[in-house]
Structures are given as C-alpha cells and as structure tokens.
C-alpha cells in the first residue's frame, strides 16, 4: 500500500486482512462503550455523516472479518482489536459469537417502492427480499470461512415450527435454495422494464412474505479452520447499511418491523442524519446530552447510536485520530523509519511575526492608545493582565483588544451600550486574561498578518468534526508534504507555517469539490454564516474572546422551520449530512434559548475561525433563508 491516507474509504478494501490493518480499536471501544449487550438484543440505529465510521463498524462485524481477525491475532495490532472485541463479548475465547452480514440498501430496495402495487404488497416484497438476502449472506459468509454448508444447522424458535418448515430450515442447502428462489423472483420483478401486474404477482409463489427473521434464533456452524475445531453457535447479526437510501415510508416500516421484541437476531440499521428525520434527530441530539452514552433507557426497544459526539469530547477523538494515524504510518516504510506517530512530525512552536510586521503592529497599537487618550498609567493595569509567557506579537494584539474593551467600558462614551457589548470577564482566577482571549488575539493576527494558526496534531484532530474520513483527508495533506520533504532530503518535521498552509489548501480544495445534492446552496449558506462569524471575530474588542463559529437563531424560530424554511430544510439536511454544519438546539445563553448552526471544521479553517464552541452571531431564520435564495 503506497499511501493509505489517500485511500479515503476502507470500503475499497475487499481483503479483510488489509482492512483490519487500518482499523483502530479506539472508535470500536467508543461504539460499544456503555450497555453494549443492548446492541445485540434489540434494534439499533447507527447515525453518522459520511466518513464517521459507520461502514467500518459494519464491515468489522461481518463474520469473515472477525474470522480473519482471529486467524491473524498474532499480529500485535490485531491482538489489541481482538482484545477490545472480547471485552464486549463479540469474541469469546477467540471465537466469534455473531454471524454478521451487511446488506447495503442500494437502489434495488428503494426501487421496490416505485412498483405499481399496494403499499402492503410493496412492504411484503421489501421484507421478503431483505430476509432472503440475509439468509443467503449468512450462509455465504460461513462457506467463505471454510464451513461446509451441509453441516450447518439452523436453530429456530420453539413456536415457529410452521415457518421453519416453510423456509426449509431443517436443511441448510434447501434453506439456501429456497431463499435464492425468493430473492430471484422478487429481483426479476424489481428490475423488469415493465413489472407484472399485481394480479400476475399474486399468482406466482410471492403471495406471502418470506419470514425467516421471525423463526431463526441461532445458526450452528461446524468447525471453522483456524478458528474452532468444534461446533459454534452463532447469533445472526443483520446490518442494513445506507438505509437513508430507502424511501422514508420504507425506512419507517423497516425500523418498526425490526424493533419487534420477538425477533431473536441482532439487527442494526446504519443511516445518515437526514434519514431519521430532522425532528427525530434533534430529539436524539438533545437526549444524548443528558443520558448515558449508549443512548438507552431500560425497557426501550430501540437504541440510537450517534457516530459523532459532542465536540466537548474532543480529547476522545484526538486519541482515536492518534491511533489511526499511527496505524497508517505503519504502512509507510519511508515514514515509519523516522517516526511512528504523526504528532512527532508536526511542530507545535508558533511562528512569530517578522520584525517589520511587529513594528507595524506596535505602531498601530500605539496610535490607537494615543488617539483614545490612554496614558502609560492607564495602559499598565491592562498590560499586567497579560501573562508573561505570551510572545511579544500576541501581547500587542491582546493589549489592543483590552484597549478596545476598556473604551467600551467607560460609561460616558456609550450610555446606551447593550449587554452584549460587555463581554464576559476576561480574567481567569489568577487575574490574567483567559486562554480563549489569547486564542482570539492569535486569530486576529492570522487575519491581519497571515500568522499561522492551524498547526499541531490537536488542531488537525479538532478540525475533523469527529469524522474519521475528514481527519484522514486533512492529515493526508500533511503526510504528502512530509513525503515530499523526505524525497528531497529535507528534515521531515513540518513547522507551523507549512502545516497551516497545507491544511488551508486542503480544506479549500475539499469544499470546492463538494458535489452532493444542493452543494451550491450549502456553500452559500456556509459562506453567509462564515462572513458573519468573521465580522464578530475580528471586531476590535473581540467580544466573544476567540470569536464565533456559529450562527444562532431564537429557538422559537427553529420550531417554525418546517412551515417557514422552504428550500432551507432540504439544504440543511445535506449540510448536516455532509458535515458542512452541525446543529445544537436549546442552547441557553444570555437568558435566552438559541438554536446554533455551527460551522464544520473545513469552513472554519478556510475562514480563519476558532474551533472552540460557544461563540455565535445572533440572527434570524429569515436571514438563513435569504442567504440561499437564487
């Protein structure tokens, strides 16, 4: 493998062993963390943006991947992954407990909705097709692992004798043939140029639903070479991937069907945010703030797992990013000779302004102070608020901000100043300016003098929005630069300027290449929000310390989105689905309740804004609607 950072999606790896070499146990741990048993005894909906790791989880849980993992457990990276999975009872004594099969939803399932039949017939066809594919998939996974199909046994529920007979569960070969027949018959209908009439359909053997899920409890496999010499009892795990491609009615039907407690198999649905409906998603986001990470309460028949968490959990993602980049660098001989961790290649030392830039800044600050009548005596207390460790250029920028704030604070100058003009106390307990204000000064220097700001491993991880693919994309830009430097015989370590330029360039290229539905409108929406955030961030008194990266509207206006949003609703769906924005509702600030539209990591980098949450510009829904008008 040349540069795994360029291979952006692990779904391109058809060999489980190659796939495993790039899977980090950290996101796996995070996924199963909490009440993991509930993931296997009830319906699970896994929600995430593209690149958040949904398909990686699904592929990992497929039976052939688990078998490959067990067979290669002598490899230290695979050993740690196997240990994690054993901790969550996915493996027991290095034997998989689950027979996982992943079915991408795809156009075939969606096409069923377009057939000219009653809703009940279409539902029956969809459920039958899914179940037939699942049975075929499970059997194929076992065969691929080396099991002989004739020796496979199917255990069904005690009260499901009739269904057992109908699906031919007594004989795995007959079971497979029956499932294949169902699959092919339905497939022929779906793909026909002109489908048969409903009457013709009823006349065929498709008059009733194929109900394998109702009956099957477990699948008993004979010995699997390299895994176990004895029989293994496996719990079937069905995973429907990309379920957002189903029609909303299909999605709701599948979701409520798989929620039935009677079903004994494990069943997971992977979907994008927009599929579960804006209202539902908003409820889930709100509820995960206050309950356990697993997102369950006892007795519920469904679990919703969010792949991307609150940005408060940045440190957790930094750990994941570090592990992933280490694994990727391990695949690159040229790099791993020098250092095994990406962090080691990235300098954390800032690059100060040049002497002439510093002089210019000094002149500006002096001119401001003099112009506003700030004597040395008045400046001294402001200067004392700045920690001694702050470099001279940042010190000057901070002083300028403090002067502006002081100007606003003097009552005579502005009797009618609104509450928002008086920022939160800028001092920490040691009576020095807070770290956030120092960051704000840095950002202002970025805009004024192009002083590098986006550097260091932590910043790359923070820019990724908890999205693994986005991290790999951004880190890939740095790795490319490192490789080039090595080729040219230079020191591979990247200074702040190199990192900053590479990240900004990569972010710009990526956003420019956005090509999902309504991407043009999303770009406009993002540009509008970013412009407002920039104004706030670059205000002389830095009212929000390190600035804004979100646009807030009153929560009451958000509640009217469905009726007043128009095209914005669809645009927002895709903006959220593709990480351009994220949504935080019921945010309490200044005695009001807000709904925040937070910029994603890439627009933040492009526009020179902060990653820290909380700073937002105030506005209205009508402004967002107007920003995307054609």
């Amino acid at each position: 493998m040349d540069n795994p950072f360029k291979k952006r999606a692990t779904e391109y790896f058809d060999d489980p062993t190659a796939f495993l070499s790039l899977v980090s146990p950290e996101p796996i741990r995070r996924f199963f963390d909490g009440e993991y048993e509930q993931l296997f005894d009830r319906s699970v909906i896994v929600v995430g943006t593209p690149g958040s790791g949904k398909t990686t989880i699904a592929q990992l849980m497929e039976f052939d991947t688990l078998v490959a993992l067990v067979r290669t457990v002598h490899n230290s990276d695979n050993k740690s992954l196997a240990t994690e999975l054993a901790g969550f009872k996915v493996l027991e004594d290095l034997v998989p407990k689950f027979l996982g099969y992943r079915l991408p939803a795809g156009s075939s399932l969606r096409d069923i909705w377009e057939l000219p039949y009653s809703a009940s017939v279409r539902t029956s066809l969809l459920r039958s097709f899914i179940q037939a594919r699942a049975v075929l998939g499970w059997l194929r996974k076992l065969e691929r692992a080396g099991a002989k199909i004739e020796q496979i046994k199917i255990s069904t529920r005690e009260d499901a004798e009739i269904i057992r007979g109908l699906i031919h569960a007594d004989d795995a070969v007959a079971l497979r043939n029956c499932a294949r027949e169902v699959e092919e018959k339905i497939f022929k209908v779906i793909t026909a140029l002109v489908p048969p009439s409903e009457a013709e359909l009823a006349a065929s053997v498709l008059s009733s639903t194929y109900e394998a899920f109702d009956a099957i409890e477990s699948i008993i496999a004979p010995s699997i070479p390299g895994v176990c010499d004895d029989e293994i009892t496996l719990k079937p795990l069905f995973m429907l991937d990309d379920a957002h491609e189903l029609h909303p009615d299909q999605f709701n039907d599948i979701e409520s069907w798989l929620r039935q407690r009677e079903l004994k198999l494990a069943r997971w649905i992977f979907t994008r945010v927009d599929a579960i409906g804006a209202d539902e998603f908003r409820k889930v986001l709100a509820s995960t703030e206050s309950i356990q990470p697993a997102g369950t309460t006892p007795g519920r028949d469904r679990v919703i797992k969010l792949m991307q968490r609150d940005r408060k959990e940045r440190k957790a993602f930094r750990g994941i990013a570090s592990d992933i980049s280490r694994r990727y660098i391990e695949q690159m001989p040229a790099l791993r000779r020098h250092a095994k961790k990406l962090e080691d290649y990235l300098s954390v030392d800032p690059i100060p302004l040049t002497a002439s830039q510093l002089r210019e800044l000094e002149r500006k600050v002096k001119s401001l102070a003099t112009g506003e009548g700030f004597s040395e005596a008045r400046l001294k207390p402001l200067e004392s608020m700045i920690p001694g460790t702050v470099p001279p250029d940042v010190r000057l920028a901070l002083l300028r901000i403090l002067i502006h704030r002081e100007m606003k604070r003097v009552p005579q100058t502005d009797m009618f100043a609104m509450e928002s003009d008086f920022p939160e106390p800028e001092l920490d307990e040691g009576k020095k300016v807070k770290a956030s204000l120092i960051a704000g000064a840095n950002i202002q220097l970025l805009h004024e003098f192009d002083r590098p700001f986006y550097f260091s491993f932590d910043r790359v991880a923070d820019a990724s929005n908890d999205n693994i693919e986005q991290f790999i994309n951004l880190a890939g830009a740095l790795v490319e630069m490192i490789e080039t430097r090595l080729l040219r015989g230079h020191r591979p370590r990247l200074d702040a300027k190199m990192q900053h330029q590479a990240l900004v360039r990569r972010a710009e290229e990526t956003v420019k290449a956005w090509d999902f539905p309504h991407s043009e409108a999303v770009r406009k929406l993002v540009a509008f929000i970013a412009a407002r955030c920039k104004d706030k961030t670059l205000a002389g008194n830095a009212p929000l310390d390190d600035g804004a990266n979100a646009f807030g509207i009153p929560q009451s206006e958000m509640d009217r989105l469905q009726s007043e949003g128009g095209e914005l609703i669809t645009v927002l769906h895709f903006a959220l689905a593709y990480n351009a924005l994220s949504l935080t509702e019921k945010y309490e600030c200044k005695n009001k309740t807000w709904c925040l539209f937070e910029l994603g990591g890439l627009p933040i980098i492009i526009n020179g804004l902060t990653f820290n949450r909380g700073g937002f510009c105030e506005g209205h829904l009508s402004e967002l609607v107007a920003s995307i008008a054609k």
């Binding site: 291979k7 999606a9 075939s108 377009e114």
Partner: protein, 367 residues
C-alpha cells in the same frame, strides 16, 4: 431475433441521415416519434424536419427536476411552444417525467417507460427515439422498451441523434449523491450470486466528473471487488488532447483511490457511436474467453457518463451483450450562459441514425 447485433448494425451518419429521413421516415405509413423538449436547438432538428409529415405522431418527454434555474425552465417552455406551433396540437403530446423523487431517488427511467407504454400501438410501422435532448436515464430505458415493442408489433425501430461539437448553452450539472443501475439495465447485479463476481468496469470519462466516478466506484466495490477499470476516452477527437487531459484529471482516482495500477484505456472515436460499440464488443469477447478458461464469474459494467454520441455506442453494447449499466443521475442544471432570444434551427454538425430492429434484420438467423 430481428434486431441489430455487433455482427450487423445498420447505421448512417451526416448527410446520409438527412437522406434517410426524407426517403424512409417521411414516406413510412405510420411513425411514432419519441423525443424530449431539450435545451439545445439540436433537439428540435428532427422534429422540425418531420413536422410537416402527417404520418408522424409526436410524443415529447418534459424532464422535470426540482433544481432547475428559471432561465432554463423558461427556455424549455419556449421550445415546447415552438414544437406545438410547428407540429400542431393534434399530432403532438407533452408528458412531464419526474427525474428525481422527493426523497432523492432516481425514478427517471421507470417514469419514462411508464409514460411511453401508453403510446405504443399496433398500427405503427416505425418507432423513432430521438435521443438528441434526452438525458440518459430517460433515453436508454425507452430505447430498450422501443426495441421490445418493435419486435412485438413488427415495427422498425430507429435511434436518431443530432448534436453540435460546441454547446450553445453551457450547463452546470448538480449530481445526485448515489449511483443507480440504469432502469432495465441492471442484469443480475444486486443478486447474492453475483457477490463474488469480478467486475470489469468501463466508465466513459467526462470533464468534471471525478466525484460521480468515485460514487460509482464506491457503489461497485461496496460488496465485491472491482478487478479492473477500463476507462473510455475520446480519440480521435476534435481537440486531440482531450483524451490525455481526461486521463490526467482522473489520475488520482485511478492510481490512488481505486488502486488500479494497470490502466487499460479504451480509445473510441468521439463522434462515431459505432466505434464505441465495436471497442466495447471486442473487449467483452476477450474478457469472456479469458474468464471462461479460468472458470471464474466476471461481469463487465458500463457507465455512460461522458459525451452523448459515445454513450449511444455504450447502450448498443449493453443491449446486444446484455451488460449492466451504472450511472449517477443529475438532479438539476444551472447555466451562466444567456439563452438566445430567438429560436434558430440550423443543421447540427453531427447526425446519426441507427436502425435497431426491423426489416433489414428480418433475415438474420436466431442467436
């Protein structure tokens, strides 16, 4: 079977087409003409040639996309009004065809075929599909349907296309974020039995289409490996560097994202659909021979995502060789060009007629 094949396919180009239209179509007993209200005036060429022929019944699709600019919608309406006034309402019908459903699914082909099913009549001696203004998602399923119907009722089926080397209106297309099997061209793709089949992918390259190619590659590789990618580039072409520039544009995709080290490029004539047809046929016959010997299951998948005339060659190959076709539908168009104020029909630079089924193949032995 009285239809075209790789061994025998009647086709005319340039002035021969004009002659054919005059000598055959205008003189035929009863013609069903299926077209689209397009943006380019080339889509009005054949209707204008046949407008005065009272033996021709015209049926036009009006493709509906929710994401369309007002200027383009306006232009479409003007073209529709022009067609109505030229042909007369008694011989012409317009049917709206939704391309993308409200939830983003591609429904173009299914809707087009459903609409067209109502037009066929045993009385027609000739069925003409004018692909000049039709999007592929509509056109290709309708071509397939027309062939089936033509064989059933014993009618001749013709494929016409008119295009210019340079577009009058430069369009910016916004694509869907999912790949779809062309309706009627899915073959066995999606069946469990095809899971381990090796896929040989032949995408037609087009400028600015890398994102769509990645979507299609992701779709193909979701459940089984893509063994080889054989891109189709135009050569010879009006701009002799066009093929090279396309390969350069896609270099990262081929060499890095898709890990395709052995680049088997198919060079096919930019303005001759028969060259594309023959090239794909040759490649496919070789593949079948190789995989027959190894006993492995393999399938060639076509993606007609490039220039129009070339993509017609692909649909001929798909129909003749029963190959599946994968594509990404366009959800909307915008344009920075100013639409012309008047409608001027000039003879397009590229004209093609392909005889799909009927009299010339009547003596063809059954395969």
């Amino acid at each position: 079977m009285s239809r075209f094949s790789s061994k025998r396919c009647i086709a005319h180009g340039a002035d021969d087409v004009t002659e054919f239209v005059s000598l055959h179509l205008k003189e035929a007993a009863s013609v069903l003409f299926i077209g689209t209200v397009g943006i380019e005036t080339s889509s009005l060429y054949y209707p204008s040639e046949l407008a005065a022929s009272t033996n021709v019944q015209f049926r036009f699709f009006v493709e509906q996309r929710s994401d369309e600019s007002e200027a383009l919608a306006d232009l479409g309406k003007r073209h529709r009004d022009w067609l109505s006034s030229k042909i007369g309402n008694s011989r012409c019908q317009f049917v709206d065809v939704q391309i993308i459903s409200m939830d983003g699914a591609t429904v173009a082909g299914r809707n087009a075929v459903n609409a067209a099913a109502k037009w066929y009549d045993n009385g027609f001696t000739d069925i003409v599909v004018d692909s000049s203004g039709m999007s592929k998602g509509v056109c290709f399923p309708v071509i397939r349907q027309a062939i089936d119907m033509g064989e059933r009722i014993g009618a001749n089926v013709h494929l016409l296309v008119a295009s210019n080397d340079q577009r009058m209106i430069q369009l910016n297309a916004e694509s869907n974020d999912r790949a779809d099997w062309m309706h009627g061209f899915q073959g066995q793709m999606g069946l469990d039995s095809m899971t381990d089949a090796l896929q040989l992918w032949m995408p037609q390259l087009s400028e600015g289409g890398v994102a769509q190619m990645n979507i299609m590659h992701g779709h193909l590789s979701a459940s089984s490996p893509v063994a080889e990618v054989c891109p189709i580039v135009p050569f010879p072409s009006l701009d002799p560097r066009r093929g090279d520039e396309l390969l350069f544009e896609y270099r990262d995709a081929f060499q890095v994202d898709w890990g395709n080290e052995h680049l088997n490029v198919i060079y096919a004539h930019e303005s001759d659909p028969m060259d594309v047809f023959r090239s794909i046929t040759r490649m496919e016959f070789v593949r079948r021979e190789v995989f027959l010997a190894t006993g492995k299951k393999a399938v060639s998948v076509l993606s007609p995502s490039g220039w129009r005339i070339g993509s017609l060659g692909m649909v001929l190959a798909a129909i003749d060789l029963e190959l599946p076709m994968l594509y990404v539908e366009t959800i909307g168009y915008t344009s920075d060009s100013t639409p012309p104020s008047t409608i001027e029909i000039r003879k397009p630079e590229r004209l093609w007629h392909i005889w799909l089924t009927g009299a010339p193949y009547a003596d063809t032995p059954q395969s």
